[in-house]
């Protein structure tokens, strides 16, 4: 009974590169005769998301490293980050949901209120990756990216909870706010110096930020003064919202939230007297909810649902109605749901070829047709399952 998975994990034999590159060449010879490696069937040279179209569906494009560093200090799934480190390149697959959203973004009228897009699908089907793909597009277009990696991180496991200075009924989360501000700064370095604040913010008796100062200063203020970081976040969001709504604004704002159902779920944070914190009492969540309302123009809101991090939801729930709940659904109401299915045949094939090309599949039987069928069966063409299974081959 020899099939892939009964064989021990220590069987990662070192296969000679000659052999594998020979195999890779066979694949290329099929499709592209004239061009030499590293181009092959499953890769495309089109690195600009704006120029990608249906022709490139199922193919991988490499993110230029200049873009990767600033864009994604946070926001990618952990496993994918490890993969990027291993392969030394960040490859995204061009898939229909992301392409759809990008096409809408291209055609949208930005004088109207911001459109809300929602990625939903079963666990591990690639919602976060689609979100990151769309964010990459916005980045290349020069938009300001407000990317919240996982809203669930803000409603659970909070070590420090301070009563807010601005509004005593609310609670601050200084640690999360500072980390987020730092990442925000990395992403939007070049734009922060250009955009100016529109109002004056007073933090304490001695510190304040005047009108007309570059946003970068505001952000630095938040990072250095940990106590007021949550308020800085709130101020930042309000400012950006106001500015992008103005007709003379020269930038557009994209708000990308992963795990948006956290905003309307429950939280596990407890106050000192052991009573649960209501979500409205958290500054970060409160401000984020204000952003999610589409009363501002000149930008877009792209979100995903996530069951994995969510609290008190059943494992089988993946539809927007189930995960957002009544209030969430009503607040998000006119939104464009985009379903993210598992891999199609073509996409699965291309992912498999990518792993082969990257010499990730070491097992001899994984290179056969039968092996491919086994992989497809066992992972049921779910991207994360496939990744996990190939991880030990």
């Amino acid at each position: 009974m020899k099939y892939l998975f009964t064989i021990n994990l220590n069987l990662v034999c070192h296969v000679r590169t000659l052999h594998t590159s020979g195999w890779g060449q066979q694949q290329e010879a099929v499709a592209v005769e004239s061009e030499p490696e590293p181009f092959s069937v499953f890769r495309t040279q089109e690195t600009d998301p704006a120029c990608q179209s249906e022709k490139h569906l199922g193919q991988f494009y490499t993110l230029p490293s200049a873009h990767f560093r600033p864009l994604f200090p946070h926001g990618l799934p952990y496993r994918y980050q490890q993969q990027v480190k291993t392969f030394n390149e960040a490859c995204f697959m061009v898939r229909p949901p992301a392409l759809e959203v990008i096409s809408y973004l291209k055609k949208a009228d930005y004088s109207k209120p911001a459109l809300r897009y929602l990625f939903y699908g079963v666990k591990g089907s690639g919602k976060t990756m689609s979100l990151c793909h769309a964010v990459h597009f916005c980045y290349t277009q020069g938009w300001v990216v407000l990317h919240i990696p996982d809203a669930h991180l803000w409603v659970k496991n909070c070590k420090e909870l301070l009563p807010s200075s601005y509004n005593s009924a609310r609670f601050d989360q200084p640690l999360q706010a500072t980390t987020w501000l730092r990442n925000f700064r990395t992403t939007n370095e070049h734009l922060l110096s250009q955009i100016k604040t529109k109002r004056r913010y007073v933090w304490t008796k001695r510190e304040s930020t005047d009108e007309g100062r570059p946003l970068g200063e505001l952000v630095n203020q938040g990072i250095s003064r940990v106590k007021s970081s949550s308020d800085v976040v709130g101020a930042l969001m309000k400012d950006l919202r106001l500015q992008s709504s103005q007709p003379g604004a020269d930038f557009r704002l994209v708000v990308a939230v992963d795990g948006v159902n956290a905003l309307w779920g429950r939280s596990t944070i407890k106050k000192e007297n052991k009573s649960a914190v209501d979500l409205e009492e958290l500054t970060l969540i409160h401000n984020l909810k204000k952003l999610m309302k589409n009363d501002w123009t000149g930008g877009a809101i792209i979100t995903t649902l996530s069951q994995t991090g969510s609290l008190y939801t059943p494992k089988s729930a993946y539809l927007p109605q189930e995960l957002l709940g009544e209030t969430g659904f009503d607040s998000m109401d006119p939104f464009i749901p985009v379903s993210v299915p598992n891999y199609s045949e073509k996409e699965f094939e291309s992912a498999y070829l990518y792993y082969l090309d990257r010499k990730w599949l070491q097992h001899p039987q994984s290179r056969t047709e039968d092996g491919k069928k086994e992989l497809s069966f066992l992972s049921s063409k779910n991207p994360s399952m496939l990744d996990r299974i190939c991880g030990f081959l």
Partner: protein, 382 residues
């Protein structure tokens, strides 16, 4: 002598068959011996009947009980309002269960009205004067040697018959043969039971040799009945796997259904010959129902073994048991359903791979005095 058991309402039966015939021969021999050997009966040796102890199970006793059972059966039939002539054992069981409802868990402890047969045990082999009945008693294995003598005398009979036929000129080699295909010789243990005494393997071999010699002679069909008495019918050796019949549903897609069981899980699978490789378990996605890779591997194994991974569509239902036993039950059901799409040779390979064998392992019961099924309590020296 045969021993019988009384555990019923009023009467009991002794199972007939070989018992009675050998009994008959023994008793006839006995009676003959008694008649020929008993020279005188001393009045002093007349036994006190009351001091005889519990009643001995003689043949007359058994026959009397048989008659009583029949009468009782007729009474029971009348009581239940059914036909006394066609009252079978199943009807008796049903009626007794109705008239005497019992809450006992052990089925063998419940009221029973049935013929029960116990193996023969040795009765006293010598008479009042101490002289044994059988002339071969002092050989130690009287029934065995008497059987051998009888067999040999039959062989001699057949030879005499042959000589007579040859003398008449009617000798022919091709007489009717006894059909031996559907039966086998008695095993040594069975022969011991029949003869009510132990025989050695040497003796057994000699017996079989003699039988074979008898069968090798042309006119052996004279003793057919005698020979067949010592043969047992062969059980159906090839229990062929019931291959589920593939049907066609409305769209013309061939599908087959089958069940599978493992530990306490029951499953049923509908295997469709569609072309996609989609699987649904209890209405859910199978990735969601079996998050563990091991269970999915179990499901994959039959299809992957035959190389038919992407061809079929599975619609499964499973209940009971745990994660692993549900996967095992589904695997069995899939392999059975797959049989109808395979050729003979492939079915044979599946059988040899062990895909079609239901796993007999079930949870072993916990015993008293132990902590678990096998684990004993901690042993303390003092």
């Amino acid at each position: 002598m045969a021993a019988s058991c009384v555990r019923t309402v009023g009467s009991f039966l002794g199972k007939c068959g070989n018992c009675s015939s050998s009994l008959n021969t023994v008793t006839s021999q006995l009676s003959r011996q008694v008649l020929s050997r008993q020279i005188c009966v001393s009045t002093a040796l007349k036994k006190n009947l009351a001091a005889g102890g519990p009643e001995k199970f003689t043949v007359e006793f058994i026959q009397k009980q048989v008659e009583e059972f029949d009468i009782g059966k007729r009474h029971l039939a009348n009581m239940m309002g059914e036909d006394p002539e066609n009252f079978t054992q199943e009807d008796i069981d049903r009626s007794i269960a109705y008239l005497f409802p019992s809450g006992l868990f052990e089925k063998k402890a419940r009221p029973l009205m049935k013929l029960i047969f116990f193996p023969l045990h040795e009765a006293v082999q010598w008479g009042a004067d101490g002289r044994p009945f059988h002339f071969l008693f002092y050989t130690g294995k009287q029934s065995y040697y008497s059987l051998m003598h009888k067999l040999y005398s039959k062989i001699l009979n057949i030879e005499k018959h042959q000589d007579r036929m040859r003398a008449k000129g009617l000798f022919s080699q091709d007489t009717k043969e006894i059909s031996l295909d559907t039966s086998r010789w008695l095993t040594k243990e069975e022969l011991e039971v029949l003869l009510v005494e132990t025989i050695s393997s040497n003796n057994y071999d000699r017996f079989i040799q003699l039988m074979e010699r008898l069968l090798s002679m042309p006119y052996c069909n004279m003793e057919e009945e005698f020979v067949l008495h010592y043969r047992r019918p062969l059980e159906a050796r090839s229990k062929k796997q019931m291959v589920p019949v593939p049907e066609r549903d409305d769209k013309g897609v061939a599908f087959s259904t089958s069940d599978g069981r493992r530990k306490t899980s029951n499953s049923s699978v509908v295997l469709r010959d569609c072309g996609s490789g989609r699987i649904t378990v209890n209405g859910q996605e199978y990735l969601h129902y079996f998050p563990v890779l091991q269970d999915r591997e179990q499901l994959m194994f039959p299809l992957q073994f035959m190389g038919l991974l992407g061809r079929f569509d599975l619609q499964c239902t499973v209940s009971g048991g745990g994660r692993s036993s549900q996967a095992g039950a589904l695997r069995l059901a899939i392999s059975r359903a797959l049989l109808s799409f395979l050729s003979e040779g492939e079915q044979e390979t599946m059988r040899q791979a062990g895909l079609l064998t239901p796993d007999p392992r079930v949870r072993e019961r916990k015993k008293p005095g132990q902590e678990g099924a096998r684990r004993k309590f901690t042993w303390k020296k003092r």
